[in-house]
């Protein structure tokens, strides 16, 4: 049997990938939008639905960023509600460890795992972001160098809590008057640098025992954390070659932790545009990129690289002649830094603009947000399958550009072709997300007695 493709559906987020100015763009907050996307994904037999998280509205030049979608619901609350209107689809959410405590988050995720019958997943994110910290009790106390230490200890602690109730703890023996087999269920202790807690967990062992752990960081520390602790990586490697290199690197790290390469799935986030012909798809792709990069957004994206106020610039005029300001604080807050070497990137952009005779906005359209898969349904199915069969990925997290109907066409047209090729399930064969992903049962630590 050929390697099977993993597919996940990302609810359109708060960056300019999401096109809100299209007449077909629906509500970003009405529950019906979430239901539509989740049910579409389930109709397409997807592995899971994915919801990102934001804990502070983004700002640019000291003001709330207003050009992209602003505002979103609470991740866990939406996932629990979606559990009621879906039956097989995994339910994954980003949840930041910096502004949460293991006991609370572990019980929320274990509760979701119970209520969904074993479909919960958690994308572990850790920030050292004092800007977001202004919304929380403990602020931005986490040193940047401790990010992965905290993430790893958080996950270890959560797993300790998830394992704290033995299997079959609830016996419910009415005649014998025994509700639980063990009179002290859920006892746990964790003593570490980040957390020092002990007591009893409230949630009996959940169907997956360990909800699925995703990890999204790409630094060496992030890769190492994924290799030691995660079930899947939400990666961002666009080309076949970059994907293969990442895949080899990360999978090779697993042996050190006594893990098999199949125990960590690599699932890049990707975009797609379909057409009846290749030319039509290319045309639609170009149209979408123009929608994604409005004149105002073009200025803003250039500001993010240049780190200067460019509000007086003409979107159809040339790029700034001077180099980016790398000395000042970043003018964009609440999002991850995108450019490791801004001066070099700015010079590349200027060179390209001159070569092709592009104005500022057209240059931005050229260099950012190029869709991953553009073509007919058949072409897209072939390319995606090629990616997976050549070990550049184990599957994809699809990021539609429209809410809520952005996945409809993919499910109607591409999924059947993948099923025909025998590389994607025609029906769900398991019930839990671990089943869908082929992860096998959670590996538990030996119990202390």
């Amino acid at each position: 049997m050929p390697k099977q493709i993993i597919l996940a559906a990302h609810f359109p987020g708060v960056n300019n990938t999401t096109v809100w100015r299209d007449p077909d763009s629906g509500s970003q907050i009405d529950f019906s939008s979430f239901v539509h996307l989740a049910r579409t994904a389930e109709r397409g037999r997807f592995d899971f639905f994915f919801l990102a998280e934001g804990l502070r509205l983004r700002e640019q030049r000291g003001r709330i960023h207003d050009l992209d979608v602003v505002g979103r619901p609470d991740t866990l609350t939406v996932l629990a509600a979606l559990a009621a209107v879906t039956t097989h689809l995994g339910l994954a959410g980003t949840l930041n460890t910096t502004f949460r405590e293991p006991y609370e988050l572990a019980r929320q995720l274990a509760s979701l795992d119970h209520l969904s019958g074993g479909r919960a997943a958690w994308n572990v994110v850790t920030t050292s972001d004092a800007f977001t910290g202004e919304n929380f009790r403990r602020g931005g106390y986490l040193d940047r160098s401790l990010r992965y230490e905290r993430a790893a200890e958080f996950v270890r602690t959560a797993r300790t809590l998830w394992e704290s109730w033995p299997a079959e703890a609830i016996v419910g023996d009415r005649d014998g008057g025994r509700y639980v087999a063990d009179a002290d269920p859920g006892a746990f202790a964790h003593h570490g640098d980040q957390f020092d807690i002990a007591g009893h967990f409230t949630v009996p062992r959940s169907p997956q025992v360990h909800p699925v752990i995703l990890q999204a960081g790409d630094s060496p520390d992030g890769r190492e954390f994924a290799a030691s602790s995660a079930d899947a990586i939400f990666s961002r490697h666009g080309t076949l070659e970059a994907g293969q290199e990442f895949y080899r690197d990360v999978k090779s790290r697993l042996a050190r932790y006594g893990r098999h390469p199949d125990e960590l799935k690599i699932i890049p986030g990707v975009t797609f545009v379909l057409g009846d012909t290749d030319a039509e798809a290319q045309e639609r792709a170009h149209h979408i990129r123009r929608q994604q990069v409005s004149p105002q957004t073009a200025i803003l994206l250039v500001e993010q690289l240049w780190n200067r106020d460019l509000s007086g610039y003409d979107p159809d005029g040339p790029l700034p002649a001077e180099d980016p300001d790398v000395t000042a604080d970043t003018i964009s807050r609440g999002r991850a830094g995108m450019y490791p070497d801004p001066v070099a990137t700015a010079r590349q952009w200027r060179t390209l603009a001159e070569e092709k005779g592009l104005g500022l906005r057209d240059l931005v359209i050229e260099v950012t947000g190029r869709q991953s898969f553009v073509g007919t349904a058949r072409q897209v199915a072939e390319r995606m399958n090629h990616f997976v069969q050549s070990d550049a990925a184990d599957g994809f997290i699809l990021v539609p550009h429209l809410t809520p109907g952005g996945l409809d066409e993919f499910v109607d047209r591409v999924v059947p072709l993948l099923q025909e090729r025998g590389v994607f399930r025609a029906e769900y064969t398991g019930t839990t997300l671990r089943d869908h992903l082929g992860l096998g049962p959670a590996r538990l630590r030996p119990r202390r007695k």
Binding site: L55, D66, G172, A183, P295
Partner: protein
């Protein structure tokens, strides 16, 4: 004499409020871990057009002792997160209010605010929230960020204890204040989708809440757009003067625990007085009396079932709320009397689930309707609407137009 109709809520917890409930419940021992169980209870409550249901929660394991687990294997132990349960129920119901309990002591006000606002979006304006304080040492040990000593129930008037309880409620007050400010931080019309200027929101209609207090500071604005009710309903369980004042300052609904009509009248009097003292604005608190209820077709059957449960428990069950056992008709008479004493309605705690909930919905509610004391259906609208509370304007919108 025509009487005002009363409000009716049901409090859901485990397999019922009697510690031996699981021994007699028709549901399986592990049912409270399943979505199906909660959906069925909510559906039953909604069929009888109850105003709202509450879901209990706590950040420690159930115990009969104030200082930690009691090691009893013969009672129900373990529970799911109440907000997760409420969210799961929301798409399966259409009218009933959903009021999960959360702690304000070890949690982040920002997360509480966004979770309840999201519940309001998902349910189309039916969200409520019952904040409670975590005064037990075991809960503190699960977070490891502060010490809370064991409180001796017999010596609650010691100065140290009074200070601790005062602090916990003051912190809870700050939490509710922050949560409400965050609910207001987006004006209703903040999302503009103005293609000409490329703006999705009008940022002048988004507001920092800039709260600074003893326990936390929160900048804002919320990440969640303003929800259908503007501000979901805040409900507080209160037994004495400190929580009465907390409720008068911060809540829309208060659950109280009188023992008889005279006591009910006295509590309502005390609450009205404290509303005055704290300078409460807006509508007065909706006062609902809590009662544990055990219902059967005859008084003898009810008495026997209660004796059977107490026997299985090994002691006579008492709780913070009075326990009524008898027929639905007898309960109607009692509710009428307490209602006349001044409470606006009741939050009934079924002794055994789903059995005593079914008795409430299929026998008690029809009897109340016959007496003209309870609605025949849902009028349509939000939980605030059901409770006769208007939708508040965002405080920031008011300030902006003043």
């Amino acid at each position: 004499m025509t009487e005002k109709t009363l409000h009716l809520a049901v409090a859901l917890d485990g397999l019922g409020w009697h510690p031996a409930a699981w021994r007699l419940s028709r549901a399986g021992a592990s049912a409270p871990l399943t979505a199906r169980y909660w959906a069925a209870l909510a559906g039953e409550a909604e069929k009888a057009t109850l105003d709202l249901l509450t879901i209990e929660d706590s950040l420690d394991l159930q115990s009969s002792r104030p200082d930690g687990p009691d090691g009893r294997a013969d009672e129900l132990r373990g529970r799911l997160d109440a907000v997760q349960i409420a969210a799961q129920i929301a798409p399966l119901t259409r009218h009933i209010g959903l009021v999960p309990t959360t702690s304000t002591t070890h949690t982040e006000p920002f997360h509480l605010s966004t979770a309840v606002a999201t519940l309001d979006h998902i349910s189309g304006g039916r969200a409520g929230w019952r904040p409670r304080v975590s005064a037990r040492r075991a809960e503190a040990g699960h977070f490891g960020r502060r010490e809370i000593p064991v409180l001796d129930p017999a010596r609650l008037d010691e100065p140290e204890t009074l200070r601790l309880v005062g602090d916990l409620f003051a912190e809870a007050g700050d939490a509710v204040e922050v949560v409400r400010r965050l609910w207001d931080s987006w004006q209703d019309d903040a999302e503009i989708r103005d293609v000409a200027t490329g703006r999705f929101v009008d940022r002048d209609r988004l507001h920092y809440v800039d709260f600074t207090g003893r326990w936390f500071s929160v900048k804002g604005p919320s990440i969640v757009p303003r929800s259908p009710q503007g501000q979901p309903v805040v409900a507080v369980l209160a037994h004495s003067s400190v929580p009465y004042a907390f409720a008068a300052r911060h809540a829309d609904v208060v659950f109280v625990t009188p023992t008889d009509p005279g006591h009910a009248a006295a509590i309502v009097g005390e609450i009205r007085a404290v509303e005055e003292t704290v300078g409460r604005g807006g509508p007065p608190l909706r006062v609902l009396a809590d009662l544990v209820v055990l219902l059967d077709e005859t008084p003898t059957l009810a008495r026997r079932r209660r004796a059977r449960l107490d026997d299985l428990h090994g002691a006579r069950f008492t709780s913070d709320a009075s326990l009524f056992s008898g027929t639905p008709g007898q309960l109607v008479d009692l509710l009428v009397e307490w209602h006349r004493a001044g409470v606006d309605g009741f939050r009934l705690r079924p002794a055994v689930l789903p059995d005593d909930l079914t008795a409430i919905t299929r026998a008690l509610v029809p009897a109340l309707r016959e007496r003209g004391l309870f609605r025949a259906g849902y009028p349509g609208g939000t939980l605030r609407g059901l409770l006769g509370l208007t939708r508040p304007a965002s405080r920031y919108a008011v300030a902006a137009t003043a």
